[in-house]
Symmetry: C2
Subunit: 418 residues, 2 copies
């Protein structure tokens, strides 16, 4: 076994050992640690911003593009937002130890479910330093240890965040080993994490589709797939034009580098002649490259022709592909075929079509008359999130506190046999 692998294994064993202590921590103690972590981030803003500047500079020199650079940056605003997330976590009830669905069976047995931590959560992720803060906060609140393997591009920022976190929680009486940071950035360290099912209870890959596929196909540790978002807005026949325009502009341009940004626009044939040119104009004015199906090109001659590959691509950039559809059925069929099961929206004034879309689209989050950009833990009221699951098992959509727990049945008897 190589040194890199051995080091990961040692860290994972430390995380597992710490998880046994974490279970015994009271909600108060965990909340004090979260608060201390938030305070420490604010106090060390300059250190964090400086570490991030070095990361951003070297990424820019390596040729990273605009939206991705923006995603990597950790500014005063990002720090304030991250702290707000931690403070929201403090205010949320502690899920651990709660007893659910306690029932008396006919034989007198009293059977319920107790909410318990998973144990050790591994994260393999790319850029976005606030993921580091959120993951630490959520795992701490749920009494899980966390093993963090961020991308090389954010190494200095993540290392600085983790150092601050370990110091803060230790001062609050929680073992610093509950947070493990993998500083090796090569795939061998990741591969070792993926194999360590004796220590790691859940692995969450978060990043580009190739990272996620790599983890999904190779991990022996249980995985929750996250975040690839080929999201659609379908503008229905009855859509209110101003609402459609506002939602499309917001979903595409407010933050094109994140997974809940819209990548595709589907528009009903009957409204396309009047509405599509206006929307395309809205988008191009904001620097979006619009690609279209043949019919869209007839209505808006300036567009690039979309290829088959466009329909399945998550651009994460100022690009949008547009398709004119016959009706809501074609829209739903297209979404269920090409979508990644992340976030899908309809703009409509029609009651039946709203319900049809909600029922028939198979995705983690389905919207009527709102931007897909709301799909995240903070906006959904979960405090923060550790990722957005696009799989069906265990967790679907933004994963907050409950998604980082499991349950066990507890059974009270007085001598029952079967």
């Amino acid at each position: 076994m190589t040194t890199a692998r051995q080091k990961v294994r040692t860290q994972a064993a430390l995380a597992k050992a710490a998880s046994h202590t974490l279970v015994t921590m009271s909600a108060d103690q965990k909340n004090r640690a979260l608060w201390a972590f938030s305070e420490a981030l604010l106090e060390n803003q300059e250190v964090l911003i400086e570490a991030n500047r070095v990361d951003v500079d070297s990424a820019r020199n390596a040729g990273m593009s605009g939206p991705l650079l923006k995603r990597l940056s950790f500014t005063k605003d990002s720090i304030r937002n991250a702290c707000q997330g931690l403070q929201t976590l403090v205010s949320l009830p502690d899920p651990i130890g709660n007893i659910l669905e306690m029932r008396r069976r006919p034989n007198g047995l009293l059977i319920g479910k107790m909410r318990v931590p998973l144990g050790v959560v591994g994260m393999i992720y790319e850029s976005r330093p606030n993921v580091t803060v959120d993951a630490i906060g959520l795992c701490l609140k749920t009494s899980n240890s966390v093993i963090l393997k961020g991308g090389s591009e954010a190494l200095r920022t993540n290392a600085a965040i983790v150092e601050i976190a370990k110091r803060a929680i230790e001062q609050a009486g929680i073992p610093a080993d509950a947070i493990q940071f993998i500083s090796d950035t090569d795939r061998e360290a990741a591969q070792e994490m993926m194999a360590l099912y004796e220590y790691i209870d859940l692995l969450i890959p978060r990043g580009g589709s190739s990272l996620i596929r790599f983890v999904k196909e190779n991990a022996k540790v249980p995985v929750i797939e996250t975040g690839v978002g080929n999201c659609h807005i379908y503008v229905d026949l009855s859509a209110e034009p101003a609402t459609a325009r506002r939602i499309v502009i917001n979903a595409k341009t407010s933050n094109p580098a994140v997974c809940n940004a819209a990548e595709k626009l589907l528009i009903h044939r009957a409204v396309a002649p009047s509405l599509l040119p206006v929307i395309v104009n809205d988008l191009t004015e904001r620097g979006v490259e619009v690609r279209g199906c043949k019919e869209a090109l007839k209505l808006c001659p300036g567009l690039v022709l979309a290829e088959e590959g466009d329909w399945e691509t998550e651009y994460l950039d100022l690009i949008m592909a547009v398709k004119v559809v016959e009706d809501i059925d074609e829209a739903i069929a297209h979404i269920n075929r090409y979508g990644t099961g992340h976030s899908e929206a309809i703009v409509t004034a029609d009651y039946e079509n709203a319900w049809k879309f909600l029922n028939d689209v198979d995705a983690a989050a389905v919207y009527v008359n709102a931007s897909t950009r709301f799909t995240d833990g903070f906006e959904f009221g979960l405090g923060a999130e550790v990722g957005i699951s696009t799989q069906k098992l265990h967790a679907r959509g933004p994963m907050g506190l409950e998604e980082l727990t499991t349950t066990k049945y507890i059974v009270f008897g007085n001598g029952q046999i079967r």
Copy 2:
């Protein structure tokens, strides 16, 4: 691709297509189909019993042992129990389409979760023909298609059950393709199922530990690990002797071939001299081979010495290993080290120790003063079960209706952007 693989792939595609129709079925329609299936099983009892006789005879000729033969047999009683399970399913509320946790966000968005089917559930399992009935019933009730690959030893029984089921549901207006039976019994068919993540949403292996490990380590389809049960009874210092004896006898001998049967007895040092010889006598009188640690052997000289391997073995037979422990802490540490996270029980009259055991033992079901034999879907009030999960993700313990569903977020807006 071999013919066996191609056939599995075709069947999986049919199951997926049928799952789209299943979603549109009303609860009434599904209940009528369940009822029809139950009636048809009763009407065709002779066919089923005859098919099972052939399976049991050839298993006996191949040298299958007593408890396993019992597990394979499908008698009038098993049929009646299976039908009772189906009828309980009819009486349970349909989980599909329910909306959970609908909340208004500060920006006016209304966000809830809708319960939806998984899609296609694959089962790879060994013996126990009632698993076939339960799996069909649970999947039907939850609008999932099911692909069944049973063991070769029960091939004729399972085929007869599936034929009856397909005919019954088709007459009730549900596509027969929703139930697929894999008649190839080799590993190649199983391997193809394990790779088909475009068609199969969840794979449940149910059987011996080597089958489960094989599926867990090789499947690309998400898997829920089930059922290996190295279950313990810990007899505490304060245990009421008669209760301890009754629970140990029941947990070991009432059905030794199932996963919730106890395999190990841990006993507090202070009560071992008086109680252990009595319990060992209870067990040997009932044909149990008792193996013991050195200390147990001093108290009961006739025992076989247990080896290290005994502590981690699921016998599924009339064998039990006994260990004398210093106190509850040693008992819990032993269980958390050697247990498989299935069902664990303490016999005690002590309030603190009862809570300590419930909190600190890491298993799907933890009991105070009751037999581990209750861990199943019917006994827990779930109607029937598709297996007992021993993993922490998605489902833990007996898996009933809810465990065969997922949710999607539904979001109602009136033009919200972010």
